[in-house]
């Protein structure tokens, strides 16, 4: 009978290991899903602000170089691409440096946490704490499969599951259980495993979601303030900065779609008809590249109208976001000027606090590439708050500077291009890039070879039905 059949259809005909990391292996059982998954290698689509095409964000907006000065994001920061690139991109980024061996930095293995299903495999062999403690380089031969099936599915019946242990821990700390969520929530939670703000806690660099006080921008700030936490000290203004990373899940809470029960998968993994079957489109991408299936089933408007709606929201948020960046760039540079003129800690303390708050607000919105559509009003509210705080910092700075005998606009460097901005903060992009290329030719292949040999010993799943 059909109902029974329906329930059987997703039971794989192959025996797949609990943490089988190879997506091809799952693909044997589910060729249709695997095929759409593979389409993620396409990097042609580029929307006004998103898409899977390669976009150098520092190039598009050199202000970022100043805001991230002293932190690895000022070296290299690109727009995200499809999940199949997760491994290549983390190899490529200058943020991971060129470690010569398994004990060298700059990064720890926490950087792998969201880059693929091998993480789940390795982490159960050691403990999460031990895993995060190792250097990123130590896992180059272990973590090689891009984000895939094992990150979201139980192999026994293909139900959704969460591999991200720190997510479960964060929920436990909030007194909530993430294991027994209904399917509708899981269609969002599988994404929340990675598309969430995080930090590396303590020397062990333990991956931690900072949600103990709530998920709003102010709640998370309070959490960090209590720890007096800082990701780094800004070298120009000396501000202790909190870096926000892709709080897509957090901001999504403020979305009317979320409030109406729409999940991430509804838009980013809509159903498609494949032959005579509806399946889930596993090409996770910008919905603007797939309006018919993602938006237009719920909304009867034309594709053009809906894209216009999206761009209108994005434009408005973007415009004010840039205004806030301008203020923050000025604030950092004016603060440096004040220090140089002899300002003391006591004078600067309230100012640095305001810069910290303003930059946190800016980054919270800027780092979530979907936010300006997901939650435009909340994004705008946060930016407005940031504008107020950054401006207040600059007002106080003008009083400090005047008290030190300087009562004029502070001269600003030329940061009209990525090159100029990087030169100003002392980054030699070309050199770093060359080193990276050399590393990719000379060091990386060795690790990848080891991985291949290891995987060749793993049998492919057996057919059982």
């Amino acid at each position: 009978q059909r109902r029974t059949e329906a329930n059987l259809m997703n039971i794989p005909r192959y025996k797949i290991d609990e943490f089988e990391p190879r997506n091809e292996a799952w693909g044997l059982a589910f060729p249709r899903e695997y095929q759409t998954y593979s389409q993620m290698s396409d990097t042609l689509f580029r929307s006004k602000y998103g898409g899977s095409a390669f976009r150098d964000l520092l190039n598009e907006d050199p202000r970022l170089v100043i805001l991230f000065a002293g932190y690895s994001f000022s070296k290299d920061y690109n727009q995200a691409r499809g999940h199949v690139y997760s491994i290549v991109d983390v190899h490529n980024t200058l943020r991971t440096g060129t470690p010569a061996n398994e004990n060298e930095g700059p990064q720890n293995s926490t950087c792998w946490a969201c880059k693929g299903p091998d993480v789940a495999r390795v982490i159960t062999q050691m403990s999460p704490a031990d895993f995060y403690k190792t250097k990123w380089s130590a896992m180059l031969s272990e973590i090689v499969n891009p984000i895939g099936c094992a990150n979201c599915h139980n192999p026994s019946d293909m139900t959704l599951r969460l591999f991200q242990i720190p997510l479960k821990e964060a929920y436990e700390r909030m007194g909530k259980n993430v294991e027994s969520l209904p399917l509708n929530k899981m269609r969002t939670m599988v994404c929340a495993q990675c598309h969430s703000e995080y930090y590396f806690k303590g020397d062990g660099k333990y991956l931690t979601f900072p949600w103990d006080k709530g998920l709003n921008v102010e709640d998370i700030e309070k959490y960090y303030d209590e720890y007096a936490f800082a990701d780094w000290i800004h070298p120009l203004s000396k501000t202790p900065i909190i870096k926000a990373q892709h709080p897509d899940f957090e901001l999504f809470q403020h979305s009317i779609h979320y409030q109406r029960g729409v999940s991430c998968a509804d838009c980013h993994m809509p159903y498609v008809t494949e032959g005579s079957q509806k399946i889930t489109d596993h090409k996770v991408q910008s919905p603007l590249n797939n309006m018919e299936a993602s938006c237009m089933v719920c909304h009867k408007q034309s594709k053009e109208t809906l894209i216009k709606n999206v761009y209108e929201r994005q434009d408005k948020v973007h415009h004010q976001k840039i205004a806030l960046e301008d203020l923050l760039v000025k604030a950092h540079i004016e603060a440096k000027y004040a220090w140089d003129k002899g300002a003391n800690e006591k004078m600067m303390e309230p100012i640095l606090k305001l810069i910290r708050q303003a930059q946190w607000r800016w980054d919270f919105v800027a780092a979530s590439h979907g936010a300006s559509f997901h939650a435009p009003l909340e994004s705008m509210r946060i930016i407005a708050d940031g504008i107020e705080k950054a401006s207040e910092a600059r007002l106080l700075l003008s009083r400090v500077l005047a008290s030190l005998g300087y009562n004029e606009p502070v001269p600003m460097p030329d940061i009209s291009s990525k090159e100029k901005a990087q030169a100003y903060v002392g980054i030699d992009f070309k050199k770093l890039k060359q080193e990276k290329e050399a590393w990719k030719k000379e060091r990386l292949p060795q690790w990848l070879k080891e991985a291949k040999e290891r995987e060749q010993k793993m049998p492919m799943p057996e057919r059982i039905m």
């Binding site: 059909r2 329906a6 399917l183 929530k185 159903y271 005579s276 509806k278 889930t280 009867k300």
Partner: protein, 195 residues
């Protein structure tokens, strides 16, 4: 069989000294009941013809939106709104719903906005799957209302929001929509008198 009916009927026989008032009362009830049944066109519910649903003008937006929908050629009101798994459930459901709506309509106590209640939603969900189950077999949306209310799936029309009535149900959305105009029950002689 006949005997059993007779015995059952006997159970309802009032004691002899109550007979006259009871017959009078029963007459009034039956008469009123028949009037309600007739004037409200509750018998519409027994038919499968969509035009009969608009006998109640408050069904007009639904009729008009359906009439302009992709389903007009494929599904009538009752294809969606009445169970189809077995005859007994079909007519039981119809009678139950029909009489309740007829009463509400005649008593004029219906709300400004009408909604499909839980039993109705259950039936419609079943019917979507009845027709489209092959297509949707693979996906978890292919589930019944209980699973949906537990959060394990969505109603088909949570996504297919326009099927078949559209998202705007007010008259303003269908200002010029024409529905078959219900015939008046007022006899001609009475009409003349009123004039």
């Amino acid at each position: 069989m006949f005997k059993w009916v007779k015995q059952t009927l006997k159970l309802f026989q009032p004691p002899p000294n109550w007979r006259v008032p009871v017959i009078v009362l029963a007459g009034i009830f039956t008469g009123t009941g028949l009037f309600v049944f007739y004037t409200s066109r509750a018998w519409s519910y027994l038919s499968d013809e969509p035009a009969t649903c608009v006998n109640c003008h408050i069904m007009r937006p639904q009729y008009v939106t359906w009439h302009h929908s992709s389903h007009r050629e494929h599904a009538t009101c009752n294809d969606c709104h009445v169970p189809h798994d077995n005859i007994f459930r079909k007519y039981y459901f119809k009678a139950n719903d029909g009489l309740r709506h007829a009463t509400i309509f005649t008593l004029n106590t219906y709300p400004q906005t009408i909604y499909m209640h839980k039993p109705g939603q259950k039936v419609v969900q079943e019917n979507c799957i009845r027709c489209h189950g092959d297509l949707t077999a693979m996906v978890k949306a292919n589930v019944d209302l209980d699973a949906i209310l537990a959060g394990n799936g969505k109603r088909c029309w949570d996504c297919h929001r326009e099927v078949p009535h559209g998202t705007v149900k007010s008259l303003s959305a269908t200002p010029f929509g024409t529905a078959p105009v219900p015939k008046t029950d007022t006899p001609n002689w009475l009409k003349k008198l009123i004039k």
